[in-house]
Symmetry: C2
Subunit: 480 residues, 2 copies
């Protein structure tokens, strides 16, 4: 085709249908733009009508309730100010753990028989740690005969990474959202390698957990007593300027926390303990993860329980099911089977070795950091896959399904815009844009540990079910 031809009148088309429709036009050298358009609610007419019925509308009795409820939920999320106020044994902070043989786990409720390998391994480890059985075989027998009860961390104000198993003697961080008084708990991060949260329970794992209970937990409690509450919002906000996203990358926050508390560690505990604590913090780039999770939980709990609100207040996985909660639907979980994340595997491992997605750590994305703040963490793509441009694109995409931007957590590469905050189940359903979650990948067998990291997308079915349930709370008729 000659240059004058190119400048002459020609066909230019926009294709809204199947990609193939454009091929004949392109075959004639004409220009075609393919619009990435999908019908609302994936073409589900009833769901589309429902989402429309719940749309913000000041003149409509339903639409005005939802709008006001979501505005309130967003305000509580934006106003949250988490701080570390104590470190204490879980049994002392969570009353249910003190009474009977109860263990907490990540994700929505699940019984022993359905638990995945890593969670079963962590359960056995916790039973051994608590001295409820002397051997792994005895522990398994005890659980098999119903000698241990299980409940989700989320039912007790707690969150746990991966298996998320919490037993009475484990120290937990006590994080208080100073703006609302809501408190959340998480265990102390064990580091990488053979650790309980990936289902390992050999003597080295139990020994580390005993040291955490006997030394690290009490030392950090002394630090908080001596130095006062530690501002976690400030650390996370600064870490987002330093390449962390608060879920899979925590090296900046861990370093800032260590630098913040180091002088107080020296003052508050004896020299040998101080050296041991600071050595542990030096060796664990992910130490801040559990604090980040508890901080997000303390914020989201303040936004939970607002009638009519379609804001998501929990997203979580137990390795079998993915579950969410909405602010306006109380304690109900909306669950669906969970898949294996798409990611990068450590040498020698692949998707066939991977456990389906696991852990409460997606509480960070629920709050608007983690995968939602990937634009802050271009270096993370070397861990979870993709390119720095993908990282920025994910954050932009999450703005489409959230109701607010939290400028308290600014994203430098996006002109210091705020993190996408307040996932609106309506927008997820209407747009079909699934929340993105940065996640570690566990081996499906207990105790092998982490074998990769990647990006998961929350399954849309949970949000559709949640939205239907929310509509019922507003006395709307909902198709089955």
């Amino acid at each position: 085709m000659s240059a004058p031809d190119l400048l002459a009148t020609r066909v230019r088309a926009i294709n809204v249908g199947l990609a193939g429709f454009a091929d004949p036009i392109r075959a004639h050298d004409a220009s075609v733009v393919s619009l990435d358009w999908r019908p609302p609610a994936a073409g589900d007419r009833d769901l589309g009508l429902l989402a429309a019925r719940l749309a913000d509308d000041p003149d409509d009795p339903v639409g005005s309730v939802v709008a006001a409820a979501n505005a309130e939920a967003a305000a509580r999320l934006l106003g949250a100010h988490p701080a570390l106020v104590d470190v204490q044994p879980a049994g002392e902070m969570i009353p249910a753990l003190a009474g009977e043989r109860l263990l907490l786990h990540s994700g929505p409720p699940i019984e022993w028989g359905r638990m995945c390998g890593p969670v079963q391994g962590a359960v056995i480890g916790a039973v051994l740690l608590e001295g409820w059985a002397a051997t792994a075989d005895d522990a398994r027998a005890l659980v098999d005969r119903g000698g241990v009860r299980f409940e989700p961390c989320h039912h007790h104000g707690a969150v746990g990474p991966m298996a998320g198993v919490v037993s009475p003697s484990m120290p937990v961080v006590v994080v208080e959202n100073l703006a609302a008084g809501t408190r959340a708990y998480a265990t102390l991060n064990e580091g990488l390698g053979k650790v309980l949260r990936f289902g390992a329970y050999d003597e080295s794992v139990l020994e580390r957990l005993r040291w955490i209970a006997s030394t690290l937990g009490p030392a950090l409690a002394s630090v908080v007593r001596a130095g006062g509450a530690i501002d976690l919002k400030g650390i996370t906000a600064q870490a987002l300027q330093m390449g962390d996203e608060g879920h899979n990358r925590n090296v900046a926050a861990t370093s800032l926390l260590t630098r913040t508390i180091a002088p107080t560690v020296v003052r508050a505990v004896d020299g040998a303990t101080a050296e041991a604590v600071l050595t542990f913090l030096r060796g664990n780039d992910h130490f801040f993860l559990n604090l980040s999770m508890a901080a997000c939980k303390s914020a989201l709990d303040a936004a939970h329980g607002i009638p009519g609100s379609t804001i998501v207040t929990a997203m979580s996985r137990n390795g079998v099911d993915f579950g969410i909660r909405l602010s306006g639907t109380g304690d109900a979980w909306f669950t669906t089977p969970v898949g294996v994340p798409d990611g990068l595997f450590f040498p020698g491992y692949g998707p066939d070795d991977a456990n389906p997605d696991l852990g409460d750590s997606s509480i960070t994305e629920t709050f608007g950091i983690g995968g939602f703040a990937m634009a802050a963490a271009p270096a993370i793509v070397r861990f979870v896959g993709g390119t720095p441009a993908d990282a920025i694109a994910f954050t932009r995409l999450m703005w489409r399904i959230t109701v607010a931007r939290n400028t308290g957590y600014a994203l430098p590469t996006l002109g210091f815009a705020g993190t996408p905050t307040g996932i609106d189940a309506r927008r997820v359903v209407e747009t079909g844009v699934a929340p993105v979650i940065n996640t570690g990948i566990a081996h499906k067998e207990a105790g092998v540990g982490q074998i990769g990291a990647g990006i998961a997308r929350a399954p849309l079915a949970c949000f559709e079910a949640g939205l239907r349930a929310l509509a019922r709370t507003l006395d709307l008729e909902v198709a089955a």
Copy 2:
């Protein structure tokens, strides 16, 4: 104009001359692209010919020497591996300081009478600190009558931020480039506010300097003895993934350093000293700056002194003159008067209060970090001005005037490309692209302190003079 007209044959022009040439064409709604073209060497025919004469050329006796020399210089820069190996009083590490009343200062050589306010203030403070005079008046009188000699830090393997004054009792970090054995020195960073490097010398300043000499320096020396050399390349490389650029933003590197050494601090010194040292490190986000500077100096000194090399091995300012050195021109300085940086001022201050650009800290840009690595530090624009996009554009621009990319220092936002390394004076002269320098802005009066931060551009005249001198070393005839 109707749509069919727009698609019909039309004038499309590229304008290479003055911008105004395009106006009449635009006035007729035609498309004009203005090419930002400048004649090589700013139209200076002799300089253009000289740069061409020095161009890489394997078949030319001159061009082959320059090409090989620059390849060797680049290889030494890329291979550099700086580590902190000791902390000792300057008088013990720099022999000249032990003999007589000599003070080192930043930038190229300058006599007392021409020094700017902040440098004169720092000199008075150093005289008081060393006990060479009892009052500021006595100190000034001593210097006025020639009782103190001055030499640049650079003449003694040292670098100093801002005034850069080094006196015998001040502890210096001893940074060794493990690849080449070159060593460089820098004092310990005092923090912000009233500090000697901005020309303050009241009792609070001297007291802090005495504490640094009596406590901080010896404690860090003990830490290095107890824990071994500290890998500064590793810390800087990681910090570039965490929003630092290694000059004006050092919070990540300072936090990583603190986290790295904290356990050893506890082991190596008594509890009170450990707490004091860790408290100081907690309060000074810029502590790593001086280590970063010494690390860059140790790398650049390994690339210095290669006959025929047009690579820049130092850029520095004394608040009056800007000076550079080239690898192939030995100890010669090429200087020109220095201006005030373009930047953001702290409340209450403006350009009229500012001292012209000052300090050896541009050694970081000379090595390829600092302003050259701004793409790593989008958050820095809140400190030095501009937008995150500008930060990325500056790094891209610096690639045009450098001979290599150092993938040991990867830039996440640019797809993990390496920092622009090895400033080639030929390219600076040919392109007219001046090296960019992130810098603090000092008040012009001694002791007021930092009043802003901004971006400076190295003056082109230094590079032109350097290139002419380099040509003479190759027996080329050079126009005056």
